[in-house]
Symmetry: C2
Subunit: 132 residues, 2 copies
């Protein structure tokens, strides 16, 4: 369990099968931002990436990252989670990839996503900021 918890007031944004934006820092100093699916493991937030993606390269070079959630029904209600990201390989069965796709009612093979070089990026919160 991480020392920094996601407050109950905004926990629904994390538990919903929605989309969050992941901000990493590129080698050229600009934030890189993409929309991602995520899976909560307690207060840790995990996503599935491939080694070849720019965000993975950014995270391997600089693990500082931020996940940002906007309430789809109220854009003034937001949740910002800054944290440190660790990258590990998914297992031979791609268990994590199947788990996160399952959370969204999807299947990675049917969706045609790349199955090679699958890794799990886990963000451990160091600071959480809520609005609204």
């Amino acid at each position: 369990m991480s020392a920094v918890e996601i407050p109950a007031s905004h926990r629904d944004l994390v538990d919903a099968a929605g989309v969050a934006s992941l901000s990493t820092i590129g080698a050229n100093g600009y934030p890189q931002v993409t929309a991602i699916w995520y899976l909560a493991e307690g207060d840790t937030l995990a996503t599935s990436l491939t080694l070849g993606r720019q965000k993975t390269k950014n995270l391997l070079r600089d693990p500082h990252a931020t996940l940002f959630f906007i309430d789809p029904t109220n854009p003034f209600r937001t949740l910002e989670i800054r944290g440190d990201v660790t990258i590990t390989h998914d297992d031979a069965d791609l268990s994590f990839l199947h788990k996160i796709f399952g959370h969204y009612g999807a299947n990675p093979e049917a969706a045609g996503v790349p199955l090679a070089d699958r890794v799990v990026a886990r963000l451990t919160p160091v600071r959480v900021i809520t609005n609204g």
Copy 2:
């Protein structure tokens, strides 16, 4: 006019009076992300901040920033605009503040936002990435 243009395919996301996420880089190395209102001035994106906000301090120290738009009707359709931000003071009439609030059908005095130390942050795109 900036050298990097916002493609016509995703221009609607910029012209809509929606919410974008602004990623800046904090002194501690973590991305800071907030939801903002924005106003397009051609290919430059502008927002109204106050000098005391953390994002303003971040931008004055490190002008690298990214605006990220998610299509509210399709989360796989996104627009990422990385750029350099310049900060200038709003004028005595707070013309820019009134202009951006007007774009959203709002009034800053009625909304009760701070009127002191108002600045305009303008992001000039250096790289634009679209998805969907």
